[in-house]
């Protein structure tokens, strides 16, 4: 310090300013990278599938809405994925019908009603549940729950929609619980106290204040559960019986889009039509999850506008 007189404002060194700019750039890059990755994945999957889409004897309508999937037929090769799509939807819908009430109920219990120590224990157990690899779930589905299904319903085979739905539900519940509980915990305590001070019971606080206040987070929890169920491959491959047809009841075997890809991609010669159609099935899956997300987004907005 030499000049004492009018002490200059302390200024940040050039290095510091450079470092800050660099940091800002890095953060921006990581934000944008998510978009880049999604687009890149879509691009590369679609590039593998593209030749068959633009080939002359490919019929998109048949691909989407024909139930005939005979990729290795000697006389007449047919690539209809409708039965697979229906299989995916059937298993996912059943899984969600079981997992959403259980998952949200558990989230509400954990966040609002249970004691501190029990909550800590339960959270650890639930995290443990979500850490079980899906092939282990598949193994359980194949050996344990399928027998239970046969015993309980008298079905001819235990590996069917019901079996797959139950196992997928077990797999999605931990996600729904932990995200849902976070969403409920994020509602400020002042809301709870204000509502209780108005004479509301705890249950009234939950359904009149917390559920509306946390609805976006809870919807996100359900969606992540749906995402897990739609995308799950190994467990449903082992649990649902792998039969390509539209299920007439919960006790029919089905095959899902994901399981189909996993089972057949290894056998399809690289570059063959079969290979490319399987990639196209991947694009279809991608579109389905995209559509689910968009619909949920619109639903949230609709709820918001009314709210």
């Amino acid at each position: 310090m030499t000049a004492p007189a009018p002490s200059p404002r302390p200024q940040r060194s050039r290095l510091e300013r450079l470092a800050e700019a660099l940091l800002e750039g890095l953060i921006r890059l990581s934000g944008v990278s998510a978009i880049v990755f999604v687009l890149a994945i879509f691009f590369f999957v679609f590039r593998e599938a593209a030749p068959v889409v633009f080939s002359r004897n490919f019929d998109l309508w048949k691909f989407l809405f024909s139930i005939e999937w005979y990729p290795t037929s000697a006389s007449n090769v047919r690539y209809g994925t409708f039965a697979l799509t229906v299989g995916s939807f059937a298993v996912t819908a059943l899984a969600m019908a079981i997992a959403v009430p259980f998952g949200l109920g558990a989230a509400i219990y954990l966040s609002e009603f249970c004691g501190r120590r029990l909550r800590e224990t339960l959270k650890i157990v639930i995290e443990l549940l979500s850490a079980i690899p899906s092939v282990v779930w598949g193994f359980i589905a194949l050996t344990v729950t399928s027998k239970l299904v046969v015993d309980a319903t008298g079905a001819a085979v235990g590996v069917n929609v019901l079996n797959g739905g139950v196992v997928l539900a077990l797999m999605s519940v931990p996600i729904i619980v932990s995200i849902g509980e976070d969403a409920l915990k994020a509602v400020p305590d002042s809301y709870r106290e204000a509502a209780l001070a108005l004479g509301a019971t705890r249950w009234q606080v939950v359904y009149r204040v917390l559920l509306p206040a946390a609805r976006n987070g809870l919807l996100a929890a359900v969606l992540l559960g749906v995402g897990r169920a739609v995308g799950e491959t190994m467990a449903v491959l082992m649990a649902t019986g792998h039969a390509v047809h539209i299920p007439g009841s919960l006790l029919d075997s089905v095959r899902t889009l994901t399981a189909n890809i996993a089972a057949e991609l290894g056998e399809a010669p690289v570059g063959s039509d079969h290979y490319r159609v399987l990639f196209l099935t991947g694009v279809l899956l991608f579109c389905i999850t995209f559509a689910v997300n968009i619909i949920a987004d619109l639903a949230i907005r609709g709820v918001r506008r009314r709210g």
Binding site: D189, S190, Y191, R192, E193, A194, A195, L196, A197, L198, G199, A200, T201, Q204, R208, V209, P212, A213, G307
Partner: protein, 266 residues
């Protein structure tokens, strides 16, 4: 013991029955005692002003009345609070107790609901379903809180989107919605402009005919304007509880009261 409320009963006023009786109320947060055994009565249809600097236990005392103090982890209460002769710690229905005592917090907490639903919240929790009745009640409470004219065209929009002062009046409307017999206001005016404050003060004067009001305030002049009796709290004790004109006179019962009221400390 300083706790003794030196309430020489005011000779002029006829002895109104006590609505709330507090006896030797003590409150501690963990090891720290913040209210050191206070006793006082709140009479029916009076406005009891409670003044005192920050941290003297005014808000905590209010929260003991409707047992919302239970939400604070580590809070322990001893002593008794009777509301209309009923011991609140033994009450069978704490929800009914809380509806009996309306509470307005210093910073408004608008529930994340529409304006209408905010006001209709407590009646609905109490089981009121009739739409026409709810409509009438909501309008009545919003009018009482001097908010109706500003929001009558947008009852369906979010209560949390209102301005701070409007939200505070919304919480007042909400506190009136369950037709409380006692209304506790905890520094209701800190988020409101002076004009609105005066309007609400007028409302409180009106309400006194029907209900009992406890008014905790940092504005000593507000207590002077409104309160029938004023209680001066300091460090978790009652220094003085007397008719407002006595507390604000040149010769209150305690030197500390005179100092506080005249702005010498606090």
């Amino acid at each position: 013991m300083v706790n003794g409320s030196r309430t020489a009963p005011p000779p002029a006023a006829p002895a109104a029955p006590a609505r709330i009786q507090v006896a030797d109320l003590r409150l501690s947060y963990g090891d720290k005692e913040v209210i050191h055994g206070i006793s006082f009565d709140v009479r029916a249809n009076e406005i009891l002003g409670v003044i005192g600097p920050a941290q003297s236990g005014k808000s905590s005392m209010l929260r003991c009345l409707n047992r919302t103090i239970e939400f604070v982890a580590g809070a322990r209460v001893s002593g008794t609070v009777h509301v209309d002769g009923e011991d609140v710690s033994r009450t069978r229905d704490v929800h009914a107790l809380r509806r009996k005592i309306g509470m307005v917090a210093p910073l408004p907490v608008g529930l994340p609901l529409t304006i209408y639903d905010n006001v209709a919240f407590a009646p609905r929790c109490a089981g009121l379903r009739d739409r026409a009745e709810l409509d009438a009640l909501v309008e009545h409470c919003l009018r009482q809180a001097a908010l109706w004219d500003e929001v009558k065209d947008r009852l369906g929009s979010l209560g949390t989107a209102l301005s701070g002062g409007q939200q505070q009046r919304l919480t007042i409307a909400r506190a009136l919605s369950h037709r409380p017999e006692v209304l506790c206001l905890d520094e209701f005016s800190i988020a409101i402009d002076p004009v609105t404050t005066m309007r609400i003060e007028d409302v409180l004067k009106e309400l006194r005919r029907e209900i009992t009001i406890i008014l905790v305030t940092n504005l000593t002049q507000q207590a002077r304007r409104l309160a029938d009796r004023t209680m001066f709290m300091l460090n978790g004790r009652i220094v003085e509880l007397d008719r407002t004109d006595v507390v604000f006179s040149e010769q209150p019962g305690s030197r500390q009261t005179w100092d506080y009221v005249n702005g010498n400390f606090g």
